[in-house]
Each structure stands twice: as structure tokens, then as C-alpha cells.
């Protein structure tokens, strides 16, 4: 998705020049501005800001103002994402606490006209799972990533709650209710997801004594890594308070192994390797039954997200063959669920 009108790019560049000058306290020149990826509603732009003799390599995260209008009921029911201003403060608190995450620098003002947006430092590495799992330069990194993901996650869960903006607190029961509401918005009955949710409901873990910062989308594809391993955790819009094991279960969902099915920890290692690194870095002791519960839940969650993605096309909200085709991926999680429920 590198397509943008040059008018739009020119407007973004001039706003960024003003905002960067304000932040760095000197006249900023913008170079190498380009759209990175993402859809129409959540944009990522890469650029350099030159201030005096210093070149700052930066990223702009942005929700354009036209799409900041109230969303349709169906879409807001499906959405559990935090807004950009909250994401900015969560990332700031995580970075402060020593989490390997991008350093956020400044927010854009409403008068700047870019919509909800903020700027952070650019970090090297790739998020593309296929490269990390198969390409030669990452051979050394592949042995380290599972352990690093465990360590970093322990740090995320240790972020002091006092420094965080207000976040939704979601426990197992809330998640089950949310997924059932999502199923009710689909037009076809879903027996396998109903079976799995009933299984989850009967076995749901007690609410956590001490809810922590949960990343909410901690998986391969959502972090950057280079030859040394993980460089930064990205995609914090699912952040909430809750059970720390939720993130560990989600990371082990089979879909995030991208074909490396015998390596549950994001395609890079065993569950045990992940859990040991997590515990060594100060995380709570992992109860395997509780971890299994969250892995089953994560599998349901991804399957229902597949249906919701297709629904964004089917409802007419966004015309997209790519989103439509994701609907046919939901059955992959049904296969996995029938295996998991027998385990």
C-alpha cells in the first residue's frame, strides 16, 4: 500500500516539518517521506527530520481525520482497539519501563489537521515472518527469538500500572462474552466456535489477583527483528489490563507459526523455552493448563477475526478482495480447535 497522492504527501511533509521544528526546537527539514503499509484507516509513514547537523529517523502513526468520524455500530461493536492518544501513552510507559519498544517523541495537535497521530523513532529490522523463519541472515536470530519474546513479555507485564493511561480491564469471562457477541453479528451459525466457547466457559480461569498490562496482539508479524533477534515490539492497539497468560497463549496460536508448526513459540521455539525465559525475567510461574486455556481462546479469537475481516468487505464498509478472502481462513482455526479440545 504505497499508493498516495503527491498532494497528500506534500501536506503530510509540511505538517511534519512544523511539528518536528516545534519538538526539536530548531528548523526541521523533512526527507525520504513514504507510506509504509497498513490500510486506509491506520497509516504508517516513514521519514527523516533533519535539524541542524542531526538526522532523526522517524515514523508517523496516523488515523486520518475523515475516518475519525463515529464508526458504524457494527464496526464499533467489533472494535476493541485503543485510540492513538492512548497508544502513545502506553508506548511511552512501556519504553520508560525498559521494554524493547519504539521511543515515542511527540503527538500532533488537532490543529495540524492530520487526524489522531504521533511520531516515534524508527527502529531497524523486519516484521515479515516468512523472512525471519526462512532467510539465511536470520539463522542465528532464530535460535534466540523464543527466549527473547519471553523476556520482553515479562517486562511488559511488569510496567507499573500507575504510569499507564486508563485501559479496559478484560478477564476470561469478558473475552468469552465478547466473542459470543461477535458470533451473533455474523450471518451464519458457527458450531465449532460455539463448542469451543462453551468448553472455554466451563473451564475459565479465575480473575487475576493482580491484573497487568496485556499487549493484546503479541505475535510473530507484530515485532521487528534483525540478525541479533527481536529489536522492537509493535502494534500496541490491543493493549488492556488483564491476565498475563493471555499474551503467552496468543503467541502460541498455530496461525502465528507461519508453517513452522512444531515450534509453538511464534515459530521459533517450544512453549517450555518461552515459559522458562518469561519466568527467569520475573514473570509469574506458568500453569500449563492455564496457558492451554489461553491458547484455545486465542485460536477462537483469530478464527472470529477472520470472519470479521471478511465482514468489513461484505458489509460494504471497505471494498477489498484481500479482506474477503480472509473469511475462508477461519476454517484453519476450526481444524486446530478440534485438535486442541481433544488434547
Amino acid at each position: 500500500m504505497t499508493v498516495h497522492t503527491s498532494d497528500e504527501a506534500e501536506n503530510v511533509a509540511s505538517v511534519l516539518a512544523r511539528a518536528a521544528s516545534r519538538h526539536f526546537g530548531g528548523t526541521a527539514t523533512i526527507e525520504k517521506l513514504g507510506r509504509e503499509s497498513g490500510g486506509a484507516s491506520r497509516q504508517t509513514w516513514s521519514f527523516d527530520a533533519i535539524v541542524g547537523d542531526t538526522r532523526h529517523e522517524l515514523i508517523l502513526r496516523r488515523d486520518p481525520p475523515t475516518l475519525g468520524a463515529p464508526r458504524s455500530k457494527a464496526e464499533s461493536d467489533r472494535s476493541v482497539s485503543i485510540d492513538r492518544a492512548t497508544e502513545f501513552r502506553v508506548l511511552g510507559a512501556a519504553f520508560q519501563a525498559g521494554v524493547r519498544a519504539p521511543e515515542v517523541l511527540f503527538e500532533l495537535a488537532p490543529g495540524d489537521g492530520l487526524g489522531e497521530a504521533y511520531v516515534m523513532r524508527r527502529i531497524g529490522g523486519t516484521a515479515i515472518a516468512r523472512k525471519l523463519l526462512r532467510d539465511a541472515p536470520y539463522e542465528g536470530a532464530r535460535k534466540k527469538i523464543a527466549g527473547q519474546l519471553g523476556e520482553i513479555l515479562a517486562r511488559i507485564h511488569a510496567v507499573p500500572p500507575g504510569g499507564l493511561p486508563p485501559l479496559v480491564h478484560r478477564e476470561a469471562a469478558d473475552h468469552i462474552a465478547g466473542q459470543r457477541r461477535a458470533l451473533d453479528l455474523l450471518d451464519r451459525p458457527q458450531p465449532v466456535f460455539e463448542l469451543a466457547l462453551a468448553w472455554l466457559d466451563r473451564r475459565k480461569p479465575a480473575p487475576t489477583a493482580k491484573p497487568v498490562l496485556v499487549h493484546g496482539d503479541y505475535r510473530t508479524g507484530n515485532y521487528l527483528a534483525d540478525e541479533t533477534g527481536v529489536t522492537a515490539i509493535l502494534d500496541w492497539e490491543g493493549a488492556h489490563l488483564g491476565d498475563p497468560i493471555e499474551d503467552l497463549g496468543w503467541l502460541c496460536v498455530k496461525s502465528w507459526r507461519f508453517g513452522a508448526v512444531d515450534k509453538p513459540a511464534g515459530g521459533f521455539g517450544s512453549r517450555e523455552e518461552l515459559w522458562q525465559a518469561y519466568e527467569r525475567a520475573g514473570g509469574i510461574k506458568i500453569d500449563p493448563a492455564r496457558a492451554h486455556w489461553w491458547e484455545v481462546f486465542g485460536t477462537v479469537r483469530w478464527g472470529i477475526i477472520c470472519h470479521n475481516q471478511a465482514w468489513r468487505h461484505l458489509s460494504g464498509a471497505i471494498k477489498s478482495m484481500e479482506l474477503a478472502s480472509i473469511g475462508r481462513r477461519a476454517v484453519e482455526t476450526e481444524v486446530d480447535l478440534l485438535q486442541l479440545l481433544k488434547a
Partner: protein
């Protein structure tokens, strides 16, 4: 009246082969972003080819199993709606061996169409 050959499955396979082998390499050179989109399209056509070939028998088998499991007749949608209701209310669960045999067979047929390489 039946259509002439190629059948739906044969025609879809011919289109998918053409797009994969001739159109995609040309697009990759000219416009990589569209090359990626074309791969998504080719993959979807391959799903439709398998659905045209395997779907009707799979649907009929699913409906027959559901009618037997639930002890009533109905369309595929009506029967699945009743099964989904029974599962949510806990009238049936994974300890029901007939239910699990039915779901295993249904999902095996679905994945054979959507993504036979999934494991």
C-alpha cells in the same frame, strides 16, 4: 439444462493456471503490489475450483449427518443454527462422540476445499 464442458471446476482451473503462470510473472515485474493481490486472487480461484468439484457432495453429507444427529429435517442453515444453539446452551458438548465425529467430518471437508495443505 446442463452447461457444456468445461465444467465450472475445469474452467476455474484453466483461469487460475493462466493467471498464475502468465499474468502473475508479468505483473510482478510491472507492479509488485498488484502481483501480491493477484496471488491472493489466484489462491481464491483455486478454492472456488475445489468448491465446485467437492462442495455439493460435502454439503449433502453434512446435511444428512446433521439430520440424523438432531433427529429432524431442515435446510443446512436451519440445522446448523439448531446445533449452534444446543452447543451454546450446553445441551451438547465435546463428550458427545456422535457430535465430534460429525464435526471432524465436516471440518475435514471444509479444509479440503479452503486449504488442503493446512496442518
Amino acid at each position: 439444462m446442463a452447461q457444456d464442458r468445461p465444467t465450472a471446476s475445469e474452467l476455474l482451473a484453466a483461469i487460475a493456471d493462466f493467471l498464475r503462470e502468465e499474468a502473475t510473472p508479468a505483473l510482478d515485474k510491472a507492479e509488485p503490489r498488484l502481483g501480491f493481490q493477484m496471488r491472493v486472487a489466484v489462491n481464491s480461484l483455486a478454492i472456488l475450483e475445489r468448491e465446485a468439484r467437492l462442495g455439493p457432495d460435502a454439503d449433502a453429507a453434512e446435511q444428512a449427518r446433521l439430520a440424523k444427529l438432531l433427529g429432524r429435517d431442515g435446510t443446512l442453515d436451519e440445522l446448523n443454527r439448531e446445533l449452534a444453539r444446543q452447543l451454546r446452551t450446553g445441551q451438547r458438548d465435546e463428550r458427545d462422540a456422535t457430535l465430534m465425529t460429525h464435526l471432524d467430518a465436516t471440518i475435514a471437508d471444509k479444509i479440503a476445499i479452503a486449504n488442503p495443505k493446512w496442518r
